[in-house]
């Protein structure tokens, strides 16, 4: 998929297209990206560079900040991984089976996109606090969910679910069940069919969904601050520390930590995209 992009780019600029207007659409896209993304991010990087290396290093390497990276990246990865498994399951159920209220369930999947994250956070903490509907049963066994790192993972899993489902679902819809039947007819076991026929076809979409869910979780603030308890060194996420820095007018410290988040996220997304590219090449024939 991605490998096609350069050649189609060249073709559209040289030859006549069914729908003309390459110049204007390209120009507009660039303008759009510039104002919405390049200028703000460029500004962040430029502003970060106004401080000395020493200052920058001190801001990003404080033990409290390092503890927050561990939580933010760790919980985001765990949340995205959970979504990878259960998002696939949900999309499988939605595509392959018929059941009452299927449309309704399908629509519900998008809810984490629309619901204000603060509302989600309050709802989650109401459920999972040790007095909550769900939390009380765990509390009996001495397990606390809200105000622990488990709570952070739950919030980050919640907001990431639609990304995996919505990227995998269309690919799964296009995947003909005849392929599975053919595989079975040729003597493959069910497990082999899943492993050799279904998963390879879904792999690029799964990885895209995984990357999106991870990236979304990394930047999440609103829902997490309600359920995490925000204890420094323990359940404090990096975005909260950025807010705390800005709150004491330490914009440079805030920008420094923001830059670290940005670069780290960029590298991890590159890796995931690399994996996706590799899996596309490996499994497509």
């Amino acid at each position: 998929m991605t490998t096609l992009a350069p050649s189609s780019f060249l073709r559209s600029s040289r030859s006549r297209n069914v729908i003309p207007g390459f110049g204007i659409t390209m120009g507009f896209s660039l303008l759009y990206i510039t104002f919405l993304f390049l200028i703000p991010v460029g500004g962040l990087l430029l502003f970060t560079m106004t401080q000395s290396w020493d200052q920058f290093w001190r801001a990003i390497s404080h033990p409290q900040v390092v503890a927050s990276y561990r939580l933010s990246f760790g919980a985001s990865l765990i949340g995205a991984t959970i979504n990878l498994v259960f998002g696939l399951l949900v999309s499988w159920v939605l595509v392959r089976y018929q059941f009452p209220f299927k449309r309704l369930v399908d629509a519900l999947i998008d809810l984490p996109f629309a619901l204000p994250t603060a509302v989600a956070g309050i709802a989650l903490v109401t459920l999972y606090a040790s007095t909550g509907w769900v939390g009380q049963y765990f509390h009996v066994y001495g397990i606390r969910i809200a105000y622990t790192q488990i709570g952070v993972v739950i919030a980050l899993t919640y907001i990431g679910l639609p990304f995996v489902v919505r990227t995998v679902q269309p690919v799964l819809e296009d995947l003909e069940s005849e392929l599975e039947e053919a595989s079975a007819a040729l003597g493959a076991s069910r497990l082999t069919t899943i492993r050799r026929v279904i998963l390879p076809a879904l792999m690029p979409a799964l990885l895209t969904g995984y990357a999106l869910a991870f990236a979304r979780a990394l930047g999440e603030y609103g829902s997490v601050v309600f359920i995490s308890g925000n204890l420094p060194y323990l359940t404090e996420i990096t975005p909260l520390l950025i807010v705390a820095k800005a709150e004491q007018y330490d914009y440079q410290g805030a920008a420094a930590i923001g830059t670290v988040m940005l670069l780290a996220a960029f590298v991890m997304l590159l890796v995931i995209n690399g994996l996706q590219w590799w899996s596309t090449r490996r499994f497509s024939h």
Binding site: V225, L231, P232, L234, V243, E247
Partner: protein, 343 residues
């Protein structure tokens, strides 16, 4: 598209045009005022704005439309610095108001001398909110460092109110135990008992009131009253500590903005109005301590006597307090490190 929906769309568009025209012509005779404030003043200013609009109409025959903005005190100050068109600010602490001068030169250096009482028309203090019947028998600051007590407070790094909490505890320990080291140790013990550290005061109120977490909530007096009277009748009690800090939430006109907009006269009248008897009673009604001693006397049943200390006497002013305690590398950071190490 059916003709019906097309017609509907035309009608809607027409309606919108008419509405905006109406708004425009109304604006011609109305003066607009924006008051940027912090969270707990919502109810107070809703009522005061009505009162003031009435007064101004009676005296000047002009209608005034007051808009309110509420949020965390620090982030509200930042919005004004970044260009929010506030005519007046009514924030939680002088440090946040002074930022308008230090970072954007929006107000003159002597802003706090322009109105009586350090420009604070009402004051408040920090009290302890406990659960009904006071099951943990919490009487004073000393009970907050007991091993069996869980304390709820927002994070002083992100919440202006929490800075008052922290300084109130520090000031108590300083007076009681006589040294900075003892005060440091005391505040560290208090924060070691905090199970949830919310970023803002309203969030902390919810943690204590709705979630049922913690045995004692260090709170603005007015927020504590709100919890007792409105959020959970009969579920909470206020414990007034032997010593506490005098919290002065100051107000000021934002000179750069009112001069540009030509709203200085009404903005100044708006703030001066806060010192009238009527407005002082409103403040008392919304659980702020009136600065006028005569009006305060009318509310003496509501507000028990507290031995107050001020931020200037004990901490040398907000700038110094912020620098010593809350900025990076300050006492609070060290306290957090110690707690993390001992956990």
């Amino acid at each position: 598209m059916s003709t019906l929906t097309t017609r509907f769309k035309h009608l809607t568009a027409l309606g919108l045009v008419a509405l905006s025209l109406g708004a425009f012509s109304a604006q011609a005779q109305t003066v607009n005022l924006l008051n940027v404030s912090y969270d707990p003043t919502r109810e107070l200013y809703r009522e005061y704005n009505e009162w003031f609009a009435q007064q101004w109409r009676d005296e000047h025959g002009q209608s005034v439309n007051i808009r309110q903005s509420h949020g965390g005190s620090g982030s509200q100050a930042r919005s004004v610095i970044d260009g929010l068109d506030a005519d007046v600010v009514t924030l939680a602490l002088a440090y946040d108001v002074d930022a308008l001068r230090q970072r954007a030169d929006l107000i003159p250096a002597d802003w706090q001398e322009r109105l009586p009482g350090n420009s604070s028309p009402y004051t408040s203090t920090i009290v302890l909110l406990v659960r009904a019947g006071n099951p943990k028998n919490i009487q004073d600051w000393d009970d907050l460092v007991r091993d069996d007590v869980q304390v709820i407070t927002p994070n002083p790094k992100t919440s202006g109110g929490a800075r008052w909490n922290y300084l109130a505890a520090w000031g108590y320990a300083l007076e009681e135990y006589g040294s900075e080291e003892a005060a440091f140790e005391f505040v560290e013990k208090v924060f070691a008992n905090v199970p949830v550290l919310d970023p803002a005061a309203r969030g902390a109120t919810n943690t204590f009131v709705q979630r049922g977490i913690g045995d004692v909530f260090i709170s603005w007096e007015n927020e504590a009253f709100l919890a007792v009277e409105q959020l959970g009748r009969g579920q909470f009690e206020i414990v007034v500590p032997s010593v506490s800090i005098l919290a002065e939430p100051p107000v000021t006109v934002v000179d750069a903005n009112v001069d540009r907009k030509g709203t200085r006269a009404v903005a100044e009248a708006y703030l001066e109005g806060l010192y009238t008897d009527d407005a002082q009673r409103l403040a008392g009604k919304h659980f702020y301590r009136p600065s006028n001693p005569d009006i305060a006397a009318e509310f003496s049943d509501q507000f028990p006597d507290v031995n107050f200390f001020g931020i200037d006497d004990v901490f040398g002013g907000w700038d110094k307090a912020q620098n010593d305690h809350f900025n990076d590398g300050g006492h609070f950071d060290t306290i957090l490190e110690n707690i993390a190490r001992n956990r």
